[in-house]
């Protein structure tokens, strides 16, 4: 007897509307079908109706958490199109903003995964430490989210010395905080139960299903755009690819925590030896680019971000194609979730750090008893904790 369980898009587990339809055999998930498009705002069509410089601020709004990745990738692609070389100092500032954003995006994700497993205090801890990163970013760029610091041909703001010292202090703070989180996430019994050998994605499947970013590095595949296709100044920064081989949600947690070390090191390195000089080439926003086409690949916090830009010499681009990392990881979620219980849906789908996934309104349609059970996010988490306690007599938190 198999059920068909749609998980609705509104009030999502991760604050974003997406809809999964799970085909269940009793409690085991047999198949799943993603139904995305709830956050599709037609940005590629809008980008064809705005000028090259207006698109800087449109494409930054594709995703709030990785806005600097989108804008940096677009600015880099537009620089290929305009055939200009941004000054060294601008590249250093751009990479620093990328890495600061990767740190606060990973901290945000660690909090959300802890919340999904019912561990709310850890959610509060990680988000309280994230505020330190948001403060320094707000001082550098003028706003906590959506920094719009890049422009075609460099960056719009310069960084003076005390901002660099503050960035270095934040990087040191993050280094010793991640030691604390690495201890918590790798030794805490209740987190280990819910993350180890759940959502398995073997190395060959990861390559076959084209997963990107920390999810593929968690299956022991050495793929990182900053290492394979270095861009901006990633050849000079101290950087090594972080991989882990236990191929499950636990290894995705470890990969992301260890990546925070690498990012904090890069921010410290940049704060120490950033070259002086101009920051912006000063291209006027009304300048027309030559007829050209270019691709630009950047390592966003969630994976490889791919831009294709084409210009026909007009003030407005002819085509801008954006492929976000979560679109690539959606296929592997379907593969990972087969054979698990309903209780494992939150950690697995949360595991790929979906920028568009949601799990909140679970509608369990019991076909023979015609009983509809509507559960929302809190109840789903409580249900999974109770279920673990009843079936596997594993006590996760004493609240029940």
């Amino acid at each position: 007897m198999s059920y068909r369980m749609p998980i609705g898009p509104i009030h999502p587990m991760l604050k974003e509307p997406i809809n999964f339809i799970f085909y269940l055999d009793g409690e085991i998930i047999v198949d799943a079908e993603p139904n995305i498009g709830y956050a599709h705002r037609g940005i590629e069509k809008l980008a064809e109706n705005k000028t090259w410089f207006q698109n800087l601020y449109l494409l930054e709004k594709i995703c709030g958490i990785c806005s600097s990745a989108h804008q940096g990738c677009y600015a880099q692609g537009a620089e290929y199109i305009f055939d200009v070389e941004p000054p060294e100092r601008a590249l250093h500032i751009r990479v620093m903003m990328w890495e600061l954003e990767r740190i606060h995006s990973h901290l945000l994700w660690l909090g959300v995964v802890a919340h999904l497993l019912g561990f709310d205090t850890l959610f509060m801890y990680t988000w309280r430490d994230r505020e330190r990163v948001l403060d320094i970013v707000e001082e550098i760029s003028g706003r906590r989210v959506g920094y719009s610091i890049n422009t075609v041909g460099g960056t719009r703001r310069d960084v003076d010395d005390n901002l660099l010292n503050k960035a270095k202090k934040v990087a040191e703070f993050i280094l010793e905080q991640t030691k604390y989180y690495e201890k918590v996430f790798t030794e805490d019994k209740s987190l280990l139960i819910r993350t180890q050998n759940i959502g398995m994605l073997s190395k060959t499947d990861a390559i076959r299903l084209g997963t990107v970013g920390p999810t593929v590095r968690a299956s022991d595949v050495k793929r990182d755009i900053r290492y394979n296709f270095p861009y901006a100044i990633y050849e000079e920064t101290p950087f090594e690819v972080v991989t882990f081989d236990s191929c499950d949600v636990f290894s995705r947690v470890v990969v992301r925590i260890r990546e925070m070390y690498v990012s904090a090191e890069i921010v410290k390195w940049i704060a120490e030896n950033i070259p002086s000089g101009k920051v912006d080439l000063g291209i006027s926003p009304f300048k027309k680019p030559p007829v050209n086409e270019a691709i630009s690949i950047v390592e966003a916090p969630r994976g490889e971000l791919y831009y294709y830009l084409k210009s026909n010499g007009d003030l407005k681009p002819e085509r801008i194609k954006v492929r976000t990392p979560t679109l690539a990881n959606i296929i592997s979620v379907i593969h990972m979730i087969k054979g698990h219980y309903i209780a494992d849906i939150p950690p697995i789908v949360g595991g790929i750090d979906p920028c568009m996934a949601c799990m909140d309104r679970v509608l369990l349609v019991d076909i023979n008893k015609e009983k509809k059970v509507v559960m929302d996010k809190e109840e789903l988490i409580r249900y999974s904790i109770k279920w673990y306690k009843k079936n596997k007599d594993i006590v996760i938190s004493e609240r029940w």
Partner: protein, 154 residues
Amino acid sequence: MGALEELKNKLSEKFGDKIKLSEDKRGVLWIECDVSDFKEILAFLCELGYSHLSTITALDHLEENKFALIYHILSFENHPKIPICLRTYINRDSPEIETVLDIYPHALVYEREVFDLMGIKFKGHKGLKRLLIPEDAPEDYHPLRKDYKIEVGD
């Protein structure tokens, strides 16, 4: 650049005049070929190590009455630092092309997106449904086409 020259020679002696190779300043290899043998080239490149299909871009050339389809493939293992973009053209009136699911299984979502926004059908793709636009949208509603106009301020 050693790797790029070697790759170009390997391609040209295997496919000769069927492909047009060009290279831009950033070290990206652009290949242009006919619709009939684009799958053969893709399969050859896949064995060569280009195991990751990043995305499929569809361009609408309204005046020449044809669609351009660009397959962006990357190789992480043995040909570092050379992204490849394979471009083919199909007729605009009957937008049909072979699916590449047998070479790249993860093209599932990319082909659905191109079908949804541009209206190009992929022969052999079982679950070809709309991805981003609501299902009840009219059949010929493909907003990314050049003839679908939207007015945005300005």
